[in-house]
């Protein structure tokens, strides 16, 4: 693929600058040095050079495969070994291994990429041409305009053609002919890229004496309409992005709070160690990742699938142990439970700190969770957030199914509603408490597994979520799964809707104040339990 791409790249550069001089060692000598101004000149020469070797070197620069060998000789690395960039002769392995990679700065990297994209406009593969046109649209560069116009004249694919039209139009906005300008304004506005507004803005102003305004009223009207439509697009994109980020934050809070909705909401244990179950889940994810990396590196991309059951199991076992050894002696004494679980949480933090070290551990996203879908230039949905949103819904479905569709769930509901009566009909309430608590802890572990993909994993991970979790549960109404879901999503939305206006610091404060006011008005939360059990 690489070789074919290169061939067409060469073709592009050839027909662009037929007859330019061949590449010489002197031309590219500065690339080996540290002087970035000289390097830029050298890259400029490469971009303008018709020699096929120049294109190979450009591609190598973009890929980070170019290096400086002995006496400033430039070496291009490839799968088949290293070759001299000028002569194409193979380079000895010792020299290639000792060569220093050539460093580019942002400016040079941009120039190299635009040069490559311009050359690729004549590639036979439409996917490649489209990518090249997109790259140029994102970073227009006037020096490649002739290449764009030539590509536009011969392009047959409608989608790519429209991109090339826009590229052409961006330059044609300054054309002396009002008809051309009018056409260009329409094409630019049709690109639906809000950042292009700034190009249209000068054309919307009437011409002042000696100013740069637009003399033709038709062009002005078209430009104004174009700006308005791009403004609308921007507004919708921003709104959708804000809603999505609110939903995403809400799903994170939901994952953090759902375990608590069971341990605190249903069983009534004020569990200050809830955050530490999240942390255990996250560390279980880390351990699975390390194990997969060591024993089956080929499967590394799929380690999250393994870490989901592992984090559930680890947290559930820890929860079971906590309930059996400590909490069951404290039922009916909320204050003692609160203090004990707080102490247990400190113990767990310190234990993890001693095992894994105080520093954060690195949980890396697999490839399929990095990047995102760009629906609009200002609306990108990152994959990891989409996956976490879906995962949180799956966990909610699991919790709901266990509570409403299994025997254990039936017992749990019976015990929470009327413990004595349930015991009378033969439910072993102690066992049910243990299992339910372990299940809640396990759900928290699942939350930790997901949190590991977006934030830091360290011994203090849980501390950052415990307050938010209690807020979500209390706001939604204790004892109700549905309440926690609405509470968590509502908190996420509220924070994200406030943040653009007041900033992250004030948004946090404002949300707290809102909750305090809400609880004052409605102490039972959004969803209150009805009937006799509500009084229990």
């Amino acid at each position: 693929m690489r070789t074919r791409a290169l061939e067409w790249l060469l073709g592009g550069l050839l027909c662009w600058h037929a007859g330019a001089a061949a590449l010489t060692a002197q031309d590219i000598q500065p690339l080996a040095g540290d002087d970035y101004a000289a390097k830029e000149e050298a890259v400029g020469r490469l971009v303008a050079d018709a020699d096929p070797r120049a294109a190979v070197l450009l591609q190598a620069l973009a890929d980070g495969d170019a290096a400086a060998g002995e006496a400033g000789r430039i070496i291009v690395g490839s799968r088949d070994g290293s070759v001299d960039a000028v002569t194409g002769e193979p380079v000895g392995e010792r020299e290639a291994a000792a060569a220093e990679p050539i460093m580019l700065n942002n400016r040079l990297r941009g120039l190299v990429e635009r040069g490559l994209a311009a050359a690729r406009l004549s590639a036979p593969d439409p996917v490649m041409r489209r990518a090249a046109a997109d790259a140029l649209l994102a970073n227009p560069d006037a020096r490649f305009q002739p290449l764009v116009e030539r590509a536009r004249a011969r392009e047959a694919d409608a989608e790519i053609k429209s991109r090339l039209d826009a590229l052409w139009a961006m330059a044609a906005l300054r054309d002396p002919d009002p008809e051309v300008r009018l056409a260009a304004v329409g094409l630019v506005a049709a690109r639906r890229q809000p950042e292009l507004r700034d190009l249209l803005r000068p054309l919307a102003e009437p011409a002042a004496a000696g100013g740069q305004g637009e003399p033709d009223p038709r062009v002005r009207a078209a430009a104004r309409a174009g700006i308005a439509s791009l403004d609308r697009l921007q507004w919708w994109g921003d709104l959708a992005a804000t809603l999505f980020s609110g939903l995403s934050l809400g799903s994170v809070l939901l994952l953090a709070a759902l375990g608590l909705a069971i341990t605190y909401g249903l069983i009534g244990v004020i569990n200050m160690a809830h955050g530490e179950f999240l942390m255990l889940g996250a560390y279980a994810t880390y351990v699975v990742q390390q194990a997969v990396q060591r024993h089956a590196p080929a499967l590394f991309d799929w380690y999250p699938l393994l870490s989901v059951p592992a984090s559930f199991a680890v947290a559930a076992l820890a929860g079971l142990a906590l309930e059996r050894l400590v909490l069951r002696h404290l039922y009916g004494r909320p204050l003692e439970t609160l203090l004990t679980t707080f102490g247990v949480s400190l113990l767990m933090i310190q234990a993890v700190r001693m095992t894994f070290g105080a520093q954060n551990v690195q949980v890396s996203n697999p490839d399929w969770m990095t990047g995102g879908i760009a629906l609009l230039p200002n609306l990108v949905l990152p994959y990891n957030r989409l996956i976490i949103l879906a995962f949180s819904l799956a966990v909610v479905a699991l919790a709901w199914a266990v509570l409403n569709r299994t025997r254990l769930g039936l017992f749990v509901r019976a015990v929470t509603q009327n413990r004595d009566m349930a015991a009378c009909v033969g439910v072993r309430t102690g066992k049910v408490d243990s299992y339910a608590f372990a299940f809640g802890a396990g759900i928290a572990g699942l939350g930790g597994c997901a949190l590991a993909q977006i934030g830091n994993v360290g011994p203090d991970l849980g501390q950052g979520y415990i307050i938010d979790s209690f807020m979500a549960v209390v706001l939604g109404g204790v004892g109700q799964l549905a309440g926690t879901i609405v509470g968590a999503l509502g908190l996420g939305m509220a924070s994200k809707l406030i943040e653009p206006f007041w900033g992250a610091v004030l948004a946090k404060i404002a949300v707290l104040v809102l909750i305090v006011l809400f609880i004052q008005k409605r102490p039972q939360g959004m969803f209150a339990l009805k009937g006799r059990s509500a009084e229990a």
């Binding site: 980020s245 520093q359 990095t370 990047g371 990152p382 830091n456």
Partner: protein, 429 residues
Amino acid sequence: MHRREVLKLGSLAGAMSLAGMPTLSWAQDRSPIKVGILHSLSGTMAISETSLKDVALMAIDEINRGGGVMGRKIAPVVVDPASNWPLFAERARQLLTQDKVAAVFGCWTSVSRKSVLPVFEELNGLLFYPVQYEGEEMSRNVFYTGAAPNQQAIPAVEYLLSQEGGGARRIFLLGTDYVYPRTTNRILRAFLIGKGIKETDIEEVYTPFGHSDYQTIVANIKRFAQGGKTAVVSTINGDSNVPFYKELGNQGLKAADVPVVAFSVGEEELRGIDTKPLVGHLAAWNYFMSVRNPTNDKFKKQWADWARSQKLPGADKAVTNDPMEATYVGLHMWKQAVEKARSADVDKVRAAMIGQKFDAPCGFTLTMDGNHHLHKPVMIGEVRADGQFNVVWRTKGPVRAQPWSPFIEGNKGKPDVVAGSGRGSARAA
């Protein structure tokens, strides 16, 4: 007996007599000198500060192996203030009054330094502060071995505005909400306006410590960048950097479009992140691990060996960074000053510190100025795919610190050196 063996024996005897000499001449006091190490080993700052504790222990071990200070060993007292600012003051008081340490090496955030400062001034202690900071301070009880704003922030922004750095015309100032980012941004704002950047082209946004959801902020940066060539100046501190850079990568904001220059992100912080999407983002420091010179090679090797021998977590990928270098330089300068003063007494060491020189791993000989700050070279590096930095710009030589920034009103006429150390100012001028 062969000649070679005779030579060997002779040199051995010579070495023994040399090694024996100091013990004879300084026999009066052989008790170890205590120094305090005050870095968060837990909490949100542990990501950055833990390695400073370790590098301090490494330097102390190095000095002790070389015979200690005036024949006395250095005994480190390590305490953990747990990223809790009031606890910093408590621990500092404990170090100075109970452990009676001769000097303290510690603090990272400015808020922790501000909270220990009254303790050091009250008890006349000596603090070596190894991190770049906002300036606006010059205590006789502190030696600042990190950068002042004119040694980091201002050159970095100047680079962003330059042709070479991308010619940014709009600047997004993003920071954690506390004294260092707020003061630095105040200085930068005044500097930018002086450079002809309009108020509307500067945006200032803060997040709480430990903030983990950067969706809105990254979206804001994108929107702001539509108005022209934009650069982000990040003073985000601690582990919030990980979610911020992850979000940048996921939202597809590339360094070629909107470069982010960070003042608190170094090699150590990047260890927790997949750096491939971050290639080209910038950091400004006075030292990078990738700097090539013999002193740095030695420093890197010494640190890698130390990390392995101490079984530090992640020792196989041990990295060095700027504050680690500053800690290392500080410890060695303190040792030189104690030897010059022939005492570990705070007042004598303070006087002896001024004008101390040390060949630092950054490749320059650093000098302690009368204003208690080091002369330091400024470097700007771009993130490479391997998590290291590639130096794209540097000053010709060390720059003198201006702790009182001329970009903040009311700083004119403030003393240029710490009272009672006039000698240093003459040397600096």
